[in-house]
Subunit: 163 residues, 2 copies
Amino acid sequence: MVDDAGSAARRELLAHLREMLKAVRLLKNDMSTQHPDVPAGTLSVLALIDAMGGEPAAPGCHVKDLAARSSLDPSTVSRAVAAVVRAGLVERTADPHDGRASVLGLTPAGRRSLDDAMAWTDDRLAGALEKWNPEDISVFTALLQRFSADLMSHHHRPLEAAR
Amino acid sequence: MVDDAGSAARRELLAHLREMLKAVRLLKNDMSTQHPDVPAGTLSVLALIDAMGGEPAAPGCHVKDLAARSSLDPSTVSRAVAAVVRAGLVERTADPHDGRASVLGLTPAGRRSLDDAMAWTDDRLAGALEKWNPEDISVFTALLQRFSADLMSHHHRPLEAAR
DNA sequence: GGCCGATAGTTGTATGAGGCAACCATTCCG
DNA sequence: CGGAATGGTTGCCTCATACAACTATCGGCC
């Protein structure tokens, strides 16, 4: 049956997915032990803030936006932001257009930390990929992107869609 | 510079990796809400026990083995195992050759739960991959495997290796 | 122009995963 | 036999995350 072959392929994919999660877990582990200054896990917050117009000119990233982009609960993001603010990596300024919100932006220290962490990660990644040719990397990246997108599009109650 | 191109590619890969982690987080989320019986996260333990000669004939999987294969602390695995044992999904029998250890194996209920969860996951995966042709899937799987392996081989103190 | 629903954010509380260290029980080796 | 190593468990801690309740503000409507 075609279906059986597909299922077997999916089982294998799943197994390697688990393996990848393990690898990522270990990577994060290393990072927190070797890079204790970046409050670990808040790194993604830094990166996100940076990615969303860290410059004051942009409409600014609010906690709400970060939560939306990362699919996390606002409370989670709020705590993470509080942590990086406490650590002096992010600056919170009142939004002139909305008294409820604050605009978030990296401080110089935050940028430095982010750059450090990125450099470290890039090193690790470069090490892991040293035997890959650029084409493989781009193919992998593209497939990864496609996979995440498809997985997410089929997320959240296919119930309503399927029946 | 070639190096710059490589770095850019890695940054992009990293971004999509984050995206994938998000997708997986959401997937797990769905699973725990829609599949509350399988104590969530212990699923990997079930799968591992199954993958390691769940049948009594095999040398049996000890907690130690599970910990090694999953790169988790024995204590973590111990708790997870305790949970599935409590839930009646796994049976613990004394190892005749080693009084300290116990041999773990799925109970019928455990097998059923595992099969259920696998079926559910497979469904999800099938949905996500419905527009993929088998070749893409296998390429993706292979690259994923290679990536995890390379990432892990460069894991944990490249210090000793690099200098 | 003032009130009510919506909205941004924070905080309280809970859960689950994971780690480290201390501890028991056993086993293995000199 | 006795001490070092080994398998496992448990205590305790940290993080990440969620949900719910709450506060403060905004915005539209009468």
